[in-house]
Symmetry: C2
Subunit: 276 residues, 2 copies
Amino acid sequence: MPSEINNLSKLCIHTITTKPWQLEVAVEKYAKAGVKGITVWRDALEGRDIYKSGRIIRSAGLEVVSLCRGGFFPSASAEKRQLAIDDNLKAIDEAAAIGAPLVVLVCGAEPAQPLEKSRSQIKEGIAKVLPQAQKCGVKLAIEPLHPMYADDRSAVNTIKQANDMAEEINSEYVGVAVDVYHLWWDPDLEKEIYRCGENGKLFAFHVCDWKTPTTDLLLDRGLMGEGCINVPQIREWVEKTGFNGFNEVEIFSNKYWGMGQDEFLNKIIQAYLKHT
Amino acid sequence: MPSEINNLSKLCIHTITTKPWQLEVAVEKYAKAGVKGITVWRDALEGRDIYKSGRIIRSAGLEVVSLCRGGFFPSASAEKRQLAIDDNLKAIDEAAAIGAPLVVLVCGAEPAQPLEKSRSQIKEGIAKVLPQAQKCGVKLAIEPLHPMYADDRSAVNTIKQANDMAEEINSEYVGVAVDVYHLWWDPDLEKEIYRCGENGKLFAFHVCDWKTPTTDLLLDRGLMGEGCINVPQIREWVEKTGFNGFNEVEIFSNKYWGMGQDEFLNKIIQAYLKHT
């Protein structure tokens, strides 16, 4: 049995989870509710002084866990691949500015080319931005995405692939983000989580749930406990590796975005205490 | 490069692909268009004399490639598991009656229990119906389903799992159905297709395409050439193993079911000749 969660000291929420809230509102509400970490999505920073946003977050007693997201490296066009590199360099600078130790990479995929080619462009892209990440002291987490996103969101679709890639790149600045939504079905999950942790590559842990039925490929994630994922079991595997970071709640949901966000935040906290 | 397809001698269509057509209409239309194989979905047999349906199909010059579908073995309820066994025995009898040498298994999953448990119930279920399959001379194909169906459709989500299970069961009557839609993203696909074929376990090959964007988890499959799957490449791997069976077009699509089915059949044939 995994250790019981009886406080919020490891609870982090992604700003996109409560998308209707502006960053400043989210910070205030999270802090008031006892949430201790925040992962900032880049859209939440639009039009803002990033250093100031970082100060607002820290003043509220929240820790910036990561910046979401970099990646989207593959393209059939060399020009677009360069634009992606530039954008990832910018994301690394933004992470440094806001005080985030990590950028999560949604690696990308190009439907018009073989997955193998997209994967090699991903590796190439990471290699190109790695010096800037090192310089800024910002780590990069390869997030394997569910195979239903293999067409245009990520050609990295299993934790084994992410582990392989991180090991090949072989930098202490490059690791893996484990998200239960993407990986829960994988018969190799437990084994590959241990491999990831033993190699010091387990950089982040994201939670939510898979609902039955799921009515949208992107925007119908569930709260922990609402679906079929055994989140506590996966958390136990993650913690067995020595992982001591945050449990990050990342939910894209038209249903939840459509309700009062105070009520939703309360639901998140209950689901976190009971089903994570 | 895979061998070019320049005739329809290996083209099979699943009745569900042209769902608006009654079985007899589908048979007539397929035959007239030069299609040589048909996979019959059980809903198409409702209210019919199955022996007679088999005769109609053969008289039209079509070969019955398989019956779809058995499976759905797992359940938290022992009573429901027994109902599934009974239904699979019935499917095997129906296959024998219509002259189908194969029943395709959509293995099933129970969201309320661990995948491992569902997988062991699947193995148990197959073992229980295997004697009837042998008696009737009807083979069973485990069809690994895309991981997005791991909640309630199949706990077998990679070809490696299907190969492992077929090898453990170790009967010449149990093999694997390879469907590009479910498996195209898997980095081990080529290797596991060879393994499947070398063991004499490659019983069926299904084709369609993955569209970008895909707007429905179940009913938005594309025609070959419409999406990101390299169907000819996968067919080449399949044929390298010595597979000499049909290429079965299996498309669930609200879009295509909503158009004139004569026009759709013509599109299927063009897509088959150009992109399979």
